[in-house]
């Protein structure tokens, strides 16, 4: 394959903007580019707004209609850091397990509330799993549908009280969210009525 000609190659560090065939506009800093496969890797600011995180986009240039180099960078990219492969592999495994575990619960017919609660608890306590429709936290606390605070059962102790706190807070947050949405909806309704 011929060497990439001018304009066909993206140097690491350049800022590129492109439009995919699906009408999606993507922009970011070039992290990697594989000329053979025309795969371009862009690094963008995190969609969640976290400064220490980034969104990474892999783009197949074969399906991109427009490519604009916002600014080019000629200096050589920093050397690649050695990676902790084990760490990466570990992450891949845990992520996969988490997802499968989640899927398991869903397939078991767990309600949306239950799934949300599970997600919330999982953020705090990694050691939680599904047992049928029950959430088992730390092999100690069982939360059965409908997953309310009073449904938390287990040996009295710090674990149980802690889980209860989490559950309590979860539903409180959910309520507040709903109220927020409601108020927003009302607001919009008012706005619309006012405008009308």
């Amino acid at each position: 394959m011929a060497a990439p000609g001018p304009g066909e190659y993206f140097s690491v560090g350049s800022h590129v903007s492109c439009l995919t065939c699906l009408g999606q506009r993507l922009q970011g800093e070039v992290v990697a580019f594989d000329y053979q496969s025309k795969m371009l890797t862009l690094k963008c600011a995190s969609s969640s707004g976290k400064s220490n995180l980034n969104d990474v986009i892999l783009i197949n240039l074969a399906y991109v209609s427009e490519v604009d180099i916002i600014n080019d960078r000629t200096e050589t990219p920093p050397p690649l850091a050695s990676l902790n492969v084990g760490k990466l592999a570990n992450r891949a495994r845990t992520e996969k397990e988490d997802k499968l575990s989640q899927a398991y619960a869903i397939s078991a017919g767990v309600s949306l509330e239950g799934q949300q609660l599970f997600q919330t608890i999982h953020k705090t306590i990694k050691d939680c799993k599904w047992q049928e429709k029950n959430i088992i936290v730390m092999d100690d606390v069982v939360i059965s549908p409908p997953y309310q605070v009073e449904n938390c059962r287990g040996k009295e102790g710090s674990a149980l009280s802690h889980v209860r706190k989490i559950v309590e807070k979860h539903f409180r947050d959910v309520e507040s969210q709903k109220s927020m949405q409601r108020s927003q909806a009302q607001q919009t309704q008012k706005d619309s009525t006012l405008s009308s």
Partner: protein, 1156 residues
């Protein structure tokens, strides 16, 4: 749209290359790509029928994938392995969730697993995201893995990724410091000065405060009062043991004596000392490494001696050490002359801390005692001395021999003379400690010592007496040397060196200590014996030096025995006067050393002595001309040069009768290495040895070996190369080869074929045997490893001695034990030539002498010895079943050996283990210890211990005492038709050979790791490597060993050497076989596991035992496999390099296998 799709995916390919098994009949696509370290390998077999379909990867064990409607097509064909390096960036994304949008607009969500050569992407636990499915997917929606062809992928979005997640340098200094805000610069540490009000006493009190926290009784009391907890502690430990019922029966007394002997052996072992030192090292981490150095203050004797000084900086250190040494000397003086409030500090300073302690502890529990006077048990000392006496006996022998010294140089026949020389040396050694030594000599030496030997000792004693007059000074001197040595060693850090130094210093220290403390004085009575023994070794050393013609001429000049003492005193004084002077003193010492060992009394002196010894060895090897050079060299480099100087002094000593005394110091060193007991006396010398510490020690050892060789061999010329080489471990080996060549018989033996280097070494050994041949074939064999033929022979001798000693101790088993020793040392020689057996007798003395040399050479020798011993042991064990005592002895020796040569030992151990259950336990421990840097040292100490035994044996041999002789003189045994003995010999020889071969092979391997494993490695490189990668080495070593052994075996271990072909061969085979077997298997096993999972490799490394087991199993298997593939060896070497390489290797292996 999509008809069928069947794909097999083999999981857990990461880091390994595997096979793909196709469960599909028609088309199969195998995708194998491996990303170095980054991405694992994927094996994909998939069959398409009908239009292209997305490839669904399913675990092989899983049910066949279900066709996924709606998936976009994926192209077919094998994937190439061209991947843009930039894509490595993708690796950072591994394990992150992503949304992948394909051409048709469908969106898949999954965990990014990996990517292919052409940017094919693999998502784990992927599912198709549908607009209506807002929440998580159901189980049925999730596909284990999906490979997306690049051409189908439009966009992949990874959200909230931490790109630095897997960066490895998160904790490097640079990365950490990079985050530090503000300006940071190194703070200059300033010593705290309390001012006049806080005089040194207060500081000392802190330093020397022995009371460490609560008294146990206080704790019990407090708990009882405060918590109502009643301690169930029973001082009798009835829960754990049974009270000993004492009676006056003969049997009990026998057993008690035996126990005492064993205890002595154990406590004299370098390992024990090292351990004790570790335990009793009162210095904190801060003191050792970070505390403000108060070297300028005498009060703070702790100062820096204890600190580890990198070999490269040792010279500087020596300079810096000077103060410390001075302090130590001062302290010693103080302690000796004046009761210093800080016993502990003294200890530290004198011995350069731990080392001395260790030594002390080892020999007589001194280690702890030293720090805390109270801890020192007089009784132990006495016991120590008692133990020492045996060693002293060896010295005695030397005395008789000394006369022959002159003759020795000319001919090997002079062996006897060697012993005598050794005795003289020992005396010299004592000179610094002489006062103590003489006492000991007088007390214990005479009885045990042969008349002749006694005489000589007496003569020595006389000098010592002079010295004794100086006692305080002498003591101080020894201490200083020890301190120097210890400092240089910081031996702990450098395990081998440290231990040695410690041991040696310990011996001296003991002496010194004894004098210092009232108890000690009482003890000194006992200690004298030890000192004597120590002296004896020293003498032997001198003798050895004398033995070497070249050395004799130059060395004599160099050493002015009598003056040496005076010089020592002077040196001490000088050192004391000016800390910095130490350096100057050292140089001075060197010159003095050349004159006498006397100056060495100081740590510097010791070092110098050591250097001299080394030089001597070198000189001897090199011949006289080399000696001068060596002397100069010592001057140049304190550690090396010092040793060289010592050697030189030794050599010079040999030359002149007076010189003999100085030379003794060198011998002492050697002996110290050999005999722990002797060490006490020799301590100075030993300390000198230790001074160089590991490297130095190694060098010294090498030098010693060389010296020994020189002494042993007229082949000084050959030795010269060695000397040259000695400085360089690698080089040293080569020189030995030449030496080995001299002794054709031996050389031929084994390994050569397999490993050129190794072979050479073995040859060297043989050579050494030739000159020293009489002394011990074993030694020679060992020597080969060491490269220093002389040293090797000595060591072997030591080793043999050890067994012998043990056997002697065990009297009952005596003959068997004797057999063992003989087998251990003698076998090789014996087997080859009857004459050798005779030589052994002669060697006995030589061995003694050699031992001293060994001490210097300690590492090399010890290693070599260890190797031999293991082999011997192994053989012995094989044989052992017959002899009761042997096992014990063997085990002890083996243990020691194991420490020194891990791999070798391991192999031997393996064999031994298989053969003798008893030994195994010790062996492993030893191994473990060996892994530690100290091991080398310990080994030396052990050797020293053995030396005593040797000495004893030697004594008996000379005397003709049947019991002791049996062990001592392998020849006799050989003579005895005893099939067992023969078998042992044969076996032992083969093993040794194997060992050698193994060793040799390792060196050739190039890999440092292997070298360390190999005896050669043990010398210079080996030690280093060992230090670096104890565990790995072990494991590797095992394999290497196995390989080596196998190779050797194949080459013809069994072949000629063993008269008793069938039985011995069998034995050998068994021992060898296992090793060999293990080797092949080992590598494979290791490799195989690796491919499967990286963890296996690690586990292997982490768990030598496990590997050993594997090896064993492998051995069994390997037994069948006589052929050791070059690849196997290669692998072994490769393994040493690192896990990564291992992985690669494993992969390669797999590939190779497949190919095959």
């Amino acid at each position: 749209m999509f008809t069928k799709c069947c794909i097999t995916f083999i999981e857990s390919c990461q880091g390994a290359v595997g096979e793909c098994t196709s469960t599909v009949s028609s088309e199969r696509l195998v995708i194998i790509y491996q990303r170095e370290e980054l991405i694992s390998t994927l094996f994909i077999n998939y069959l398409f029928t009908g239009p292209p379909v997305n490839v669904i990867i399913v675990p092989t064990t899983a049910a066949p994938p279900t066709p996924q409607p709606g998936l976009t097509a994926i192209g077919q064909g094998a994937l190439s392995c061209a991947v843009n390096n930039n894509n490595q960036q993708l690796v950072c994304l591994q394990g992150t969730k992503c949304e992948l949008k394909v051409k048709n607009g469908a969106v898949y969500e999954g965990v990014f697993k990996t990517y292919g050569p052409e940017c094919d992407l693999v998502l784990d636990a992927a599912h198709r995201k549908s607009p209506e499915m807002s929440l998580a997917p159901r189980k049925e929606d999730i596909v284990e893995s999906i490979i997306f062809k690049t051409s189908d992928v439009v966009v992949v979005t990874f959200k909230d990724v931490d790109l630095n997640f897997a960066r490895k340098d998160n904790f490097t200094d640079a990365s950490v410091s990079g985050r530090i805000n503000g300006e940071h610069k190194e703070k200059d540490l300033e010593p705290w000065d309390g001012g006049e009000t806080h005089n040194s006493d207060s500081l000392e009190s802190l330093d020397t405060d022995v009371s460490n926290g609560w008294d146990p009784n206080d704790m019990f009391k407090y708990n009882e009062e405060k918590y109502g907890v009643l301690s169930t502690y029973d001082s009798s430990l009835s829960t754990y043991t049974v009270p000993l019922e004492r009676d006056d029966s003969e049997e009990f007394l026998k057993r008690e004596a035996r126990a005492a002997q064993l205890a002595e052996e154990i406590e004299a072992s370098a390992t024990y000392k090292a351990r004790v030192a570790l335990e009793n090292d009162e210095r904190t981490e801060e003191e050792k490494y970070t505390a403000v150095v108060r070297g300028e203050r005498e009060t703070h004797t702790l100062s820096r001696e204890n600190k580890y000084i990198p070999p490269g900086q040792r010279n500087r250190d020596a300079m810096s050490w000077g103060p410390g040494r001075q302090n130590s000397p001062r302290l010693a003086q103080n302690s000796a002359g004046v009761s210093t409030p800080r016993p502990g500090p003294h200890d530290y300073s004198p011995s350069s801390g731990a080392d001395q302690r260790v030594v002390n502890g080892g020999s007589s529990h001194w280690p702890s005692p030293c720090p805390s006077p109270s801890s020192r048990p007089p009784s132990r000392y006495q016991s120590g001395p008692s133990s020492l006496p045996p060693r002293a006996t060896t010295p005695t022998r030397p005395p008789s021999r000394p006369p022959s010294r002159p003759s020795r140089p000319p001919s090997h026949s002079s062996h006897p003379s060697y012993p005598s020389s050794s005795s003289s040396f020992s005396h010299h050694g004592p000179t610094s400690p002489a006062s103590n030594l003489p006492k000991r000599m007088s007390s214990e030496g005479p009885p045990r010592m042969s008349p002749k030997s006694q005489r000589t000792p007496r003569a020595h004693r006389v000098p010592p007496s002079r010295i004794s007059g100086v006692h305080p000074g002498v003591d101080l001197v020894p201490h200083n040397p020890a301190g120097d040595v210890s400092a240089a060693p910081s031996t702990r850090s450098s395990s081998s060196g440290g231990t040695w130094s410690s041991v040696v210093s310990g011996g001296r220290l003991k002496f010194t200590h004894r004098p210092r403390s009232p108890r000690q004085s009482s003890l000194s009575g006992a200690s004298p014996g030890s000192s004597q023994t120590g002296t004896a070794p020293v003498e032997t050393v001198t003798l050895i030096s004398a033995s070497s013609p070249t050395a004799a001429s130059p060395a004599p000049n160099m050493v002015a025995p009598p003056s040496g003492d005076a010089k020592e005193c002077r040196v001490q004084e000088t050192r004391q006067s000016s800390p910095s002077a130490n350096e100057s003193t050292k140089p001075v010492d060197n010159s003095p050393f050349s004159l006498l060992a006397g100056p060495p009394p100081m740590a510097a002196d010791h070092r110098k002595q050591i250097d001299n010894l080394k030089k001597f060895s070198e000189d001897f090897r090199l011949q006289p001309s080399s000696n001068p050079e060596a002397a100069f060299e010592p001057m140049m480099t304190k550690s090396q040069r010092d040793p060289a100087d010592n050697t030189n002094t030794n050599t010079s000593k040999p030359g002149s009768p007076a010189a003999l005394s100085p030379s003794p110091s060198a011998p002492d060193q050697k002996r110290a290495g050999l005999d722990v007991t002797s060490q006490g006396v020799q301590t100075t010398a030993v300390s000198a040895f230790s001074g160089p510490k590991h490297e130095e020690e190694e060098k010294k050892e090498a030098v010693q070996d060389q010296v020994r060789k020189s002494t042993l061999n007229p082949n000084a010329n050959e030795f010269k190369p060695r000397f040259n080489t000695q400085p360089k471990p690698a080089s040293t080996p080569t020189p030995p080869r030449p030496q080995g060549q001299p002794s054709p018989s031996i050389v031929v033996q084994q390994p050569q074929a397999v490993y050129g280097q190794t072979v050479c070494f073995p040859q060297m050994y043989p050579l050494t045997p030739v000159s020293p041949g009489v002394q011990s074939p074993v030694y020679q064999v060992q020597m080969p490893h060491m490269t220093v033929s002389q040293s090797k022979p000595y060591r072997p001798g030591k080793v043999p001695n050890m067994p012998q000693q043990r056997s002697d101790q065990h009297h009952p088993p005596g003959t068997p034990t004797m057999m063992h020793p003989a087998t251990a040392a003698g076998p090789p020689i014996v087997a080859p030539n009857p004459a050798y057996s005779a030589q052994y007798f002669a060697c006995g003395p030589q061995q003694f002498t050699s031992q001293p040399l060994v001490q210097q050479m300690t590492h090399y020798q010890s290693q070599a010895q260890h190797v031999f011993s293991p082999v011997m042991q192994g053989s012995a064990r094989m044989m052992a079943p017959h002899t009761h005592s042997q096992p014990g002895l063997v085990s002890s020796s083996t243990t020691q050996y194991p420490e020194q040569t891990h791999t070798m030992y391991a192999n031997a151990n393996m064999h031994a283990d298989s053969c003798a259950p008893v030994s195994p336990g010790p062996m492993p421990q030893q191994y473990a210890h060996p892994s530690a840097t100290l091991h080398h040292h310990p080994q030396h100490p052990q050797p020293s211990a053995t030396p005593t035994g040797q000495g004893q044996q030697g004594g008996p041999q000379q005397h003709g005492g049947p019991p002791s002789h049996p062990a001592a003189s392998p020849v006799q045994h050989p003579q005895h038709p005893q099939a067992a003995a023969a078998a042992l010999h044969l076996a032992s020889q083969p093993p040794q050979q194997q060992m050698y071969s193994a060793l040799a092979p390792t060196p050739p391997s190039m890999t440092p790791g292997p070298n360390p494993q190999s005896s050669q490695a043990s010398f210079p490189s080996a030690q280093q490597t060992v230090y670096l990668h104890p565990q790995v080495q072990h494991s590797y070593n095992h394999s290497h060993m196995a390989h080596m052994q196998q190779a050797h075996m194949q080459s013809g271990i069994v072949p000629s050497h063993h008269p008793a072909p069938t039985h011995p061969p069998m034995m050998l085979m068994a021992t060898q076989g296992p090793p060999g077997g293990p080797q092949p298997q080992m590598p494979q096993a290791a490799l195989n596991p690796i491919p499967v999972s990286s963890t296996t490799h690690f586990s292997y490394l982490a768990h030598p035992q496990g590997t050993r087991r594997r090896q064993r199993s492998g051995h069994l298997l390997s037994l069948k496999e006589d052929k050791v593939g070059s690849t196997g060896i290669f692998w072994i070497f490769e393994e040493c390099r690192g896990t990564v390489d291992r992985r690669r290797l494993s992969c390669l292996q797999h590939v190779q296998k497949k190919c095959l």
